[in-house]
């Protein structure tokens, strides 16, 4: 299964705002994407609560997985999103 390991780039971790941006992008994906951290169970990347429950900080490694048409492209774009500092373009 196509997989990407990404280090969370947002300064304040994968919390409210960065998590929301990521979840909204994952929800638009035509294939099912999961995210997990460490040995924990993979959870749906489009579930805000599941992503928040990961408690991922800046520097935490997370693993994205997806299967199906275009999975690689989707994982690439989601991985890029996660590695960016989504707090940087803040109001």
């Amino acid at each position: 299964m196509p997989t990407r390991t990404v280090t969370v780039g947002s300064a304040s971790g994968l919390h409210a705002r960065p998590a929301k941006i990521f979840v909204e992008a994952a929800a638009k994906a035509p294939v099912k994407v999961t995210i997990r951290s460490g040995d924990r169970k993979p959870v749906p990347a489009k579930s805000m609560l599941s992503v928040l429950a990961l408690g991922a900080r800046q520097g935490t490694e997370v693993i994205l997985e997806a299967e199906g048409d275009g999975a690689d492209e989707i994982l690439d774009s989601l991985a890029e999103l996660l590695s960016k500092d989504l707090d940087a373009d803040h109001v």
Binding site: H15, A16, K20, M48, L52, G55, R57, V91
Partner: protein, 149 residues
């Protein structure tokens, strides 16, 4: 974080709000009332909400300030406001707001712990239907435990 993270005075279970912004102002005021934030923090909460919704699911929103608002936080605290009649949150019905004031990045754990509670359907329902502050403290008390270090 201190044991004062969830001050009983900031648990308000019979609130009414005209709209989303009114609900956020009430949440912010609760944080100001218990001495956790300066009044200016409320403005940053409204700005945050305009930037991106803090709705997380299960009829729960987690209003909080922007990064710029951190300087207006006097101590880490939560406020839990319940709106029995519901509030239209950009098309999503919201019954409970868990407002957050946090100085550092301790709220990553805090949000994770809250999310764990909400992922449990029974606990999420209990929170939505809570009429006693004790219920809220029992449900969210674990958050304080987990973030105490």
């Amino acid at each position: 974080m201190s044991e004062q993270l969830l001050d009983p005075r900031a648990i308000r279970l019979t609130e009414k709000a005209d709209d989303r912004d009114d609900a956020i102002r009430r949440c912010g005021q609760a944080l100001v009332d218990i001495g956790a934030a300066e009044p200016g923090y409320i403005t940053t909460m409204l700005a945050r909400e305009q930037s991106i919704s803090t709705y997380v699911g299960e009829q729960v929103a987690i209003p909080h300030g922007t990064l710029a608002g951190k300087d207006l936080v006097k101590r880490d605290a939560l406020a839990v406001l319940r709106f029995p009649e519901g509030v239209d949150w950009d098309g999503e019905p919201v019954t409970v707001c868990v407002a957050i004031a946090a100085r550092g990045d301790g709220h990553v754990e805090l949000l994770a712990a809250l999310a764990e509670v909400l992922l449990d359907e029974d606990q999420a329902r209990e929170l939505r239907e809570a009429t006693e502050p004790e219920t809220v403290i029992r449900l969210l008390g674990s958050i304080q435990e987990e973030t105490k270090q």
